[in-house]
Amino acid sequence: MSTEPQSGTDLESGQAGSPPNPDKGDMVRKEATQGRAASMLIAPSIVVLTIVILYPVVSAVFQSFQKDAGLDSATGLFVAGGFAGIANYTHWILQQCTAGGVSVPCPPGTLGAQFWSSISTTFFFTVVTVILETAIGFGMAVIMARTFRGRGLLRASVLVPWAIPTAVTAKLWFFIFAFEGIANKMFGTSILWTGSENPARAGIIIADVWKTTPFMALLILAGLQIIPADVYEAAKVDGVTAWQRFRHITLPLVKPALLVAVLFRTLDALRMYDLPQIMTGGANNTTTLSILVVQEIRSGNFNSASALSTITFILIFLVALIFVKALGVNAVETTTVSGRGKAK
């Protein structure tokens, strides 16, 4: 389905074929008018995001170049640290700690020693959960989109996991995965779910997939709704197999919604905090970047935590950038680029 070129810039493209000179000025005027309208429409969102997100981000970036308070050995009180340069960043990235005034590699049992392992943990969780959630969510959405008795109930039950607050979900799964919990009892196993790396990670992934798949399913379902039923009917009549229908009709049509869902899910997964924090406390290689940030804040090292937040932000930004470049997740691209391309 080609997106019609006139959409988005309908008025302009109507004139695209006319001689360029007279309507160039017109174009500029149009763009100016639309620009004014657009800025009024966008302003409320930008204002809110600036207060809640931009201000903290900027202050974190600023703080990350300050030293954390150090102890004045004479008074036993903390004193402000002063300018740190990039020390907070090298602390994390090179895993350098200071002990007794000298710089040493961070020993096991410090937060600094966990930086790279927490990055790999975070990415591991992200990749696995996003793939599982997308696949299962797609399946759920396809079923939910069908017409059958009781589909309202199915839709409601799919949303149940998501409607339970994450903190409670985590407690619920912690409870389920206890040594004498229902999971071991049901399967007749005696797995120490929180006692070593693989079961702990598996437990967190199961909980996260259970909790968040409905989010994917709902978004994909919304995308499926755009596809008119008669397209399928026509395809069926033409003897197209289910897989071909999926591959050549469903997937391309649902792609924009799907990519938005996957993109946002990825951004969220990269910031995962509650589930591993409550289920394992970060033990057995389940410490994510966000957990590390919180532990650093709780240790009173706000500036070094700010550096870690900033690093996390940059990492996620890069992931998003790759995402957008590679998959073309851009809600407006086709429309506007073609429209503008024509106009130029």
Binding site: S157, V168, S290
Partner: protein, 297 residues
């Protein structure tokens, strides 16, 4: 949207034969099997939550897989205000905050995504990038600066101290979804309506919005649940008067120090889940309305 105007020349009834009929029946059976599997996967852990919610606190860790030692005490404890649990008030708070958040983020989101999908302006990619970037900073690191900002404004313990952050959490996704929906809309219909004498905003409301309904309702559900589930911000920026359900549940405690109040927490979680299930049941028609319904045409 060329497909939306596809001709409806194929009457399904004309092609029905026995084979197709059988295939249909088989397909519908398969649908039910999958639907049942999905429901079990989604509801089984929730079932365990409900079982625990109805279990005597003295048998908290009893792993009997069906209802046993049934009691309503946990629900009573969850609602009893003399132990300092304010679940009822927290439910009201969560509803207020959630509804306002949903409403405002939808409104802002519709404005912004209309502009992004339909208008031409220079900073479009800047705006899109900025909006996306808002979902990239660790949420855990937002709390302290916001606390300081809202303390200066004397906002701690007000609804806006929760609503404004929640709007900003919901907005990026709202805008991206709506833009992707608006892009697929048959805007020539809007044009047609304007030729018929509608104003631009009338055309938008009467023609485009109904078509975009699945997207709008989906985003509404997403925004509401985002706000309903949020804990970190709420735990720091609310007080007793504006406490939301997540904070209220985190405040539950056992009768003894160190005792985990699982049963009461599960009872509260059960209660908290109900409004959302009702909401989905009420709105599920809208979630799947729109183009498939063909009502607009």
């Amino acid at each position: 949207m060329t497909t939306a105007t596809a001709t409806q020349d194929t009457e399904p009834g004309a092609h029905v034969n026995r084979k197709a009929h059988n295939r249909k029946r088989w397909e519908s059976r398969r649908t039910y099997v999958f639907a049942a599997l999905i429901a079990i996967w989604c509801l089984l852990p929730a079932y365990w939550m409900v079982v625990t919610a109805f279990r005597d606190v003295g048998f908290t860790y009893d792993a009997t897989p069906f209802f046993s030692h049934v009691t309503l005490d946990n629900f009573r404890a969850a609602f009893s205000t003399d132990t300092g649990n304010h679940l009822a008030r927290a439910l009201v708070n969560s509803l207020i905050v959630g509804i306002i958040t949903t409403f405002i983020s939808l409104m802002f989101g519709i404005f912004a995504s209309y502009a992004l999908a339909r208008l031409n302006f220079r900073a479009k990619y800047l705006v899109l990038g900025f909006i996306l970037a808002a979902s990239m900073f660790p949420g855990v690191a937002l709390v302290t600066p916001l606390f300081q900002l809202f303390t200066d404004l004397n906002w701690i313990g007000t609804y806006q101290a929760l609503i404004i952050p929640y709007i900003s959490f919901a907005l990026p996704l709202t805008i991206y979804i709506l833009v992707s929906f608006f892009r697929e809309m048959p805007w020539e219909l809007e044009e047609a309506a304007r030729i018929d004498g509608c104003t631009k905003s009338q055309a938008f409301r009467k023609i485009i919005m109904p078509l975009a309904a699945p997207g709008v309702f989906t985003t509404a559900v997403l925004a509401f649940i985002t706000s309903w589930n949020e804990f970190l911000i709420a735990s720091q920026l609310s007080n007793g008067q504006t406490q939301t359900v997540t904070v209220a549940i985190a405040s539950f405690s056992g009768s003894q120090p160190h005792q985990e109040p699982y049963t009461a927490v599960m009872a509260a979680a059960t209660i908290v889940t109900i409004p959302l299930v009702i909401m989905v049941l009420v709105f599920q028609k809208q979630i799947v309305a729109g183009l498939t319904a063909g009502a607009v045409k």
